[in-house]
């Protein structure tokens, strides 16, 4: 903390020193930064600042913690001619992201018995946890499926009956990153993902259902069709083994080619954006991103089907509000020093947060800014925010609460205790394939998401629209 200099509300500067090409910028409050061991992630922010072609700042969000090369919560914009693209700036789980769907009824509409039925119905329909997708029969992607879904993005699943055309208007990049190319993807990656589409996975991924507990901005809430007490569904998952393998294959290839030479940390290994290696990674990364959009689309279809069968709610009445990516590299146009420039923006554990009028946004969000989805922990809360398009962070905001306690420490803290019973006393029913995952993911392993979103608001990145209180949670 000592080297950080406050330059604006909830905004701290790491001065440019040594080989840093730009200064670092940390969004947060002293309280939040005290909660985690920040020396290593701050060092990672400084390391990212050394990458060729970086413009503006090497940035970290208030949910910063130690990651692979880049910190989790890291954002960096690279100039296209001289800049690089780095798999460590995207993460292993390419296009890990979140989507929020809303029901037309309040959560109080469902009594205790019905809530239990819904939870089980969703759990039975959507594979969650290690290897659960292997129990599903007859659902395996062919090479032809891969070609189609990578080219079409989430539209492919909609064409297969998983959702509705209007869902596409409610996704970042309309559920498709252009440039995906199957020839850039290894056979191992394809085999790894073949049976995993439509599954949650393990770790911190989940499906969560609850009520909009508090509305902060009634005008935006009205625009987006929100009301207090409304039932919501929040889905968090990514590109599963398909994306993990693409990241792994690329790191392997980049390291073998010596592309880590001269970097302060070999985990930052990267290739010039315009080089064959850089282009190849982008094509493979886009492929994984489109797999992830389809994954979340099919999970939502499972949730819609469960509500239809268990509670008689028509699938179309479960309206997708938005789907965001929080592990991605994208080409975006931003204003820098009075000029419009095209950059490759890496967001690793960070969410795009376009403000009002951003041209990529659909009409619904033109007057409000983009929905920014911030899952917290499975006990306390998640948040729905609206982007403010802050140029300082390349229109980015936080992606979650961020861990404050390791998986091992959380396991130890809850060993021998009835953590599922504890969650029930907090008003949350949890169903999971693995008890261990629940112990690792208990709420006290995370920072207080309220404090994280407050810091983003204070820094002018996004504004709170609603607080979401979970009641039913499915974990891997």
């Amino acid at each position: 903390m000592s080297e950080l200099k406050k330059i604006a509300p909830a905004t701290y500067l790491i001065p440019q020193t040594g080989r840093m090409r730009v200064p670092g910028l940390i969004i947060g409050t002293p309280e939040l930064l005290k909660e985690v061991e920040v020396d290593k992630p701050i060092e990672q922010v400084s390391n990212v600042a050394c990458l060729p072609g970086i413009v503006g700042y090497s940035i970290a969000m208030p949910d910063i913690h130690w990651g692979y090369g880049f910190p989790i919560g890291g954002v960096a914009g690279m100039e296209l001619e001289t800049g690089v693209i780095s798999p460590g700036g995207v993460g292993y789980d390419i296009n890990c992201g979140v989507r929020l769907a809303l029901l037309p009824v309040p959560f109080s509409h469902f009594d205790e018995r019905k809530r239990g039925e819904l939870l089980r119905a969703i759990f039975n329909r959507i594979p969650s946890g290690v290897g659960q997708e292997h129990k599903e029969t007859g659902k395996q992607l062919t090479d032809g499926d891969y070609r189609q879904l990578l080219e079409k993005g989430a539209r492919w699943s909609i064409e297969q009956g998983y959702g509705f055309e209007e869902d596409l208007e409610h996704m970042e990049s309309h559920g498709c990153i252009e440039g995906a190319d199957l020839s850039s993807v290894s056979r191992v990656a394809m085999d790894r993902g073949r049976r995993q589409l439509g599954s949650i996975g393990s770790g911190n991924h989940f499906v969560e259902i609850g009520a909009l507990q508090k509305i902060y901005l009634p005008e935006i809430a009205k625009e987006w069709g929100l009301f207090e007490g409304q039932t919501y569904v929040l889905i968090h998952s990514g590109s599963r083994g398909f994306g993990h393998q693409i990241c792994q294959d690329t790191l392997d290839q980049f390291l073998k080619k010596g592309l880590a030479e001269g970097l302060p940390d070999k985990q930052l290994v990267s290739a010039p954006i315009k080089s064959p290696e850089g282009k190849n990674y982008f094509c493979a990364m886009a492929a994984a991103a489109n797999f992830a959009f389809n994954n979340r689309q099919q999970i939502l279809a499972g949730v819609r089907d469960a509500f239809h069968h268990a509670a008689g709610i028509a699938p179309r009445d479960i309206r997708l509000l938005y789907d965001v990516c929080h592990n991605i590299a994208k080409f975006e146009e931003h204003e820098f020093q009075g000029k419009k420039i095209k950059l490759c923006i890496h967001r690793k554990g960070a969410t795009r947060a376009y403000g009002k009028g951003a041209k990529e946004l659909s009409r619904l969000f033109q007057g409000t800014g983009q929905p920014v989805l911030v899952p917290g922990d499975m006990g306390r809360a998640s948040h729905l925010m609206a982007g403010l398009g802050n140029p300082l962070t390349w229109c980015s905001s936080c992606h979650g609460a961020g861990r404050s306690r390791s998986r091992i420490k959380s396991m130890e803290a809850w060993k021998g205790r009835d953590f599922l019973g504890h969650m029930q006393t907090q008003g949350v029913q949890v169903l999971a394939s693995s008890k261990r995952t629940v112990a690792e993911e208990m709420p006290d392993a995370y920072k207080d998401v309220d404090a994280v979103v407050a810091a983003c608001e204070e820094a002018g990145l996004a504004q709170r629209v609603a607080r979401l209180k979970p009641s039913l949670v499915i974990k891997g």
């Binding site: 191992v188 393990s202 083994g241 390291l255």
Partner: protein, 264 residues
Amino acid sequence: MEFKRLFFAVEVIAPWPDQFPNGRILLETDRHLTLAFLGDVDVDRLQLLFSDFPKPSFSIGLAGIFDQVLFLPRDPPHVAAWHIQLLEQKEEFLVFQKVLSGWLEAQGFSPKDKNREFLSHMTIARQPFVLREWKETFQKLPLFLKDLRLCESLGDSKYKVLWNQSILAPFDSIEHTADLAFRVRGTSFSQLHLHAQLSLSFHFPPLIQYFSFAEVSSLEQIISSLNRIIAQVDTEIGCPFKAVSFHGDLWVHDFLEWEMIVDV
């Protein structure tokens, strides 16, 4: 002169299941692999000899698996036990057990069962139990052997450690905010490779079916091998690990020590 019922044993560490079939289950801290059972002996005389204790064949705990359930003795069985299959230094370990028995004999002690072939096993429960339940629920588990111990049998499957010779663990879990991390040890790259797989299998035991004993001669080869295994496991049965990161902190002491970070 104080006589106690004593035996030499090796501590066994494993990712123990939360639940077992019925039976009088031994406490986790009492589970061990017996090397030599001495019966009632003068503990003071034995303790005087420890400066001359035979050097074990291993300086870092050995990797193994519980590969089958045994009921001992055959008819009628009193205990349910798990057989230990060592994955490294099997011969050397057997030699050490024999050396220890010989040393004890040379000192005037008479280890029981010295003429019987050594059966590497760990008692897990005593009667009453239902054999069928133990057979049906058995699943292979990874393990490692750790400290050498002289134990006193207190009766009712309770033991007290009287002497301990510490052996380095093949791995330890270490703190990492978002991922899993281990400090893995080995006297060679091959052993480091095996112990890295062992650490992963403690978190996800089905991985033991995929253990690789391929020759490796660098950290990069170990990481590539581990990631091939993870990809195969994920493809075939699902895997909680995304990948082992290309993280190169390798320390060379009398042995190799590597900080392995696993993305989950």
